[in-house]
Point group: C2
Chain length 117, copies 2
């Protein structure tokens, strides 16, 4: 998967900005036009469009034009890719912690059997 | 939580680079010294240190010096924060999809009852 790393870079980069996370949050509730998406922010339409371009390039958002209105939609697959990358690492860490716990418990048992404490 | 958004910015930013994700991956398997962490990469020690600084600033990694060796450890809380941000948005999107499915099913029932199709 040669694109996997490139797209993870772009998804995490896209999520590293509060305005873009806010746009994702809005689009999770349903599709929205670019104008509606840009409205809550104290920024120019070109600035909002730039954030949308980053979101589209990452695969988190797709947009399509119908007449004069461009409508944006969330693409959940990109969210899932990023989520599962993190989840696998967290799970790996928790497994290591479990093994450490078992090891310490076994050490404890050995010590108790030896009657040294 | 005034720092919440700032730290999400930094965690996602830290994860937006393949070398830094690789370092996270390595540290999930256990603590490592800076030298060991830097070894697999074709980069200078200062360049590796710069990546580690980004990881530390984001809260994903903590390091401590003992004698001449600086040891790095993963901080799973930051991983969990990023994971749960994404998971909540994905869940929100899936709920919306469920509601849409229910709505369409109800429309279908109404049409069938009306006998129009």
């Amino acid at each position: 998967m040669p694109n996997q790393s490139g797209s993870l870079d772009q998804v995490f980069q896209a999520l590293a900005d509060p305005t873009r996370r806010d746009m994702v949050e809005r689009l999770v509730r349903g599709p929205a036009s670019v104008t509606v998406l840009a409205r809550p922010y104290a920024m120019s339409l070109p600035a909002a469009l730039q954030h949308l371009q980053v979101l589209e390039a990452s695969g988190l958002v797709r947009s399509a034009k119908a007449g004069r209105v461009r409508t944006c939609r969330i693409q959940p697959a990109a969210l899932r890719t990023a989520e599962s990358w993190i989840a696998r690492r967290r799970a790996g860490w928790e497994r290591r912690l479990d093994r450490l716990g078992e090891y310490l418990a076994a050490q404890d048992d050995q010590q108790n059997e030896g009657g040294t404490l």
